[in-house]
């Protein structure tokens, strides 16, 4: 499978892998404890502190690793939630049609007519932001996008002869959705999954930066920017490291998603 791996995909895969491994093994890799004050305020980078220290003297590399862990976990779980609810409901709407399809589709239209950030702000003014509520909130808001895509793809597939045949065989709804439609809808969905994941990373970072996402003492990339933003005015670039982390993660996930899309479409003779 990894033969003929294009260079761009190899770069993307290795960077994505590094980020995920760092997220999983954060306590092992991180040189210091997440909340340990180990130096002066905003020390420049040195042998002890590769990226320097933050606004109260914690090791910035450690903060970045733990921050990445929070950001990547939240984004991953929210993406999984958004894909399972979005695609199951989308497939269901495409297969059953009728009033369920109408009600769901109009509701999704309504949700998508309002910017996600505004909806998130309205909701977060009423509920407390914990890791769990953030995952549910982001996952469900984003499920509308997945629903649209899944429904569009599934409508095409559900008129195919083999789906018709399965229906005539008397297969149940679950079989038709998971055994007939899902395998054939997978490649566009997987490519979209990469984009949605990046969107989740940007979304949670924005919320944390605004002070209504991940709450201290937990660190995440958006929160690190918020904590260190005063430093910028003194020419201290501590708040810019998360920018580099987010950009490299976003670009590498994009490269992987592109490669998966190309690979799976060429397998099926070019049909997207």
């Amino acid at each position: 499978m990894l033969k003929n791996l294009p260079l761009s995909a190899a770069i993307g895969l290795s960077f994505t892998a590094i980020y995920f491994l760092a997220a999983i093994f954060a306590p092992v890799i991180a040189p210091y404890g997440m909340a340990d004050v180990v130096g002066d305020v905003w020390e420049p980078s040195s042998a002890e502190h590769l990226l320097g220290t933050d606004q109260i003297g914690r090791d910035l590399l450690t903060r970045m690793i733990y921050g990445g862990r929070t950001t990547i976990w939240i984004a991953t779980l929210a993406t999984i939630l958004s894909f399972t609810t979005g695609s199951v409901l989308g497939f269901l709407a495409a297969v059953t049609g009728g009033w369920f399809d109408q009600v769901m589709s109009r509701f999704v239209d309504l949700m998508m007519a309002i910017p996600s950030l505004i909806l998130a702000l309205v909701i977060l003014s009423s509920i407390e932001a914990t890791v769990i509520t953030l995952i549910i909130l982001m996952g469900l808001l984003d499920a509308t996008r997945v629903y649209r895509l899944a429904r569009a793809v599934a409508v095409d597939i559900s008129v195919m002869d083999y789906v018709e045949a399965a229906k005539l065989r008397g297969e149940k709804l679950g079989w038709i959705i998971f055994r007939e439609i899902l395998p054939n809808a997978l490649s566009p969905l997987v490519a979209e999954m990469g984009l949605r994941f990046i969107f989740m990373v940007l979304f949670i970072s924005t919320l944390s930066f605004l002070g209504i996402g991940v709450q201290p003492p937990l660190a995440d990339w958006g929160g690190i920017v918020k904590e260190n933003k005063e430093g910028i005015n003194f020419g201290i670039g501590a708040a810019l490291y998360p920018a580099i982390a987010i950009a490299t993660l976003a670009i590498s996930v994009n490269l992987v998603a592109d490669w998966i899309l190309n690979r799976t479409t060429s397998l099926k003779g070019g049909r997207g």
Partner: protein, 318 residues
Amino acid sequence: MHPILTLVVQRLALGILLLIAASALIFGLTEILPGDAAQAILGQAATEENLANLRAEMGLDRPALTRYFEWLGGILTGDMGNALTNKLPIADQIGKRMSYTLFLSFWAALISVPLAILLGLIAVRYQNRWPDKLISGVTLASISLPEFMIAYILVFFFAVKLFWAPSFANISPGMPLLEQLHAISLPVAVLTLVVLAHMMRMTRAAILNVMQSAYIETAELKGLTTFTVIYRHAFPNAIAPIVTVVMLNLAYLVVGVVVVEVVFAYPGMGQYLVDAVVKRDVPVVLACGVIFAAVYIVLNIIADLVSILANPRLRHPK
């Protein structure tokens, strides 16, 4: 009735319906979630009795539907009630801040729209050569970063290292225009970069789509220069998709402005909204949220209408 007029009226009616539904959704969200204004004022330690008294006093014990229509009527007539935190009328605050936000968005749009179209044209002209690749690369990079990151990168280099522009957008009514523009130069640059990327890519795609038509080949075979072909033949046919793109991106600006205002401590609507969310000032969040949503929806409706009106096949039906 002319068929296009029917279509326009239909879309307008749908749009109004959508606006009402969106306001109901926003109001409903704060209704079904736990906690209300009385809870926010009294805090977690309040007794049931105190809560019930305050709810009765504020009218919160009446049915949600009644309060929704009162609230909607208030928004439409400019009476949005008072903020929970400082008891000041919300409408006064919004009136002041709205003009600042519009000022910022206006300049961002004024710069980004022509620039995006020009860059899109250049990218098509030099398709797959280095100018196209350079433009695509830079725009891809700016899509991969959240707005506030782009903002701090610009602040770091242009405000702190080079002293070209202030890092906080301090603006007041009495300032001369030039000083105001200097104050908002970095926020405008950030917003421009954010929407430019999307807009330019979509413009490029729209023109490339037209460039594949047969009449473009004819124009090329006539011996016209590439720029004439693009300018005289491709561009007029790409106007409808481009206008749609522009409108969608102006709508996108609505979201970008929220974050950018917070970064630059700009006294606009976005800052007001985020502050209110942090302080759990639900009436303010509702008012700001519904205004942002309405602007977004209205811009989308306009994009829809323009694409209908710009389509010659719909204007002159057989």
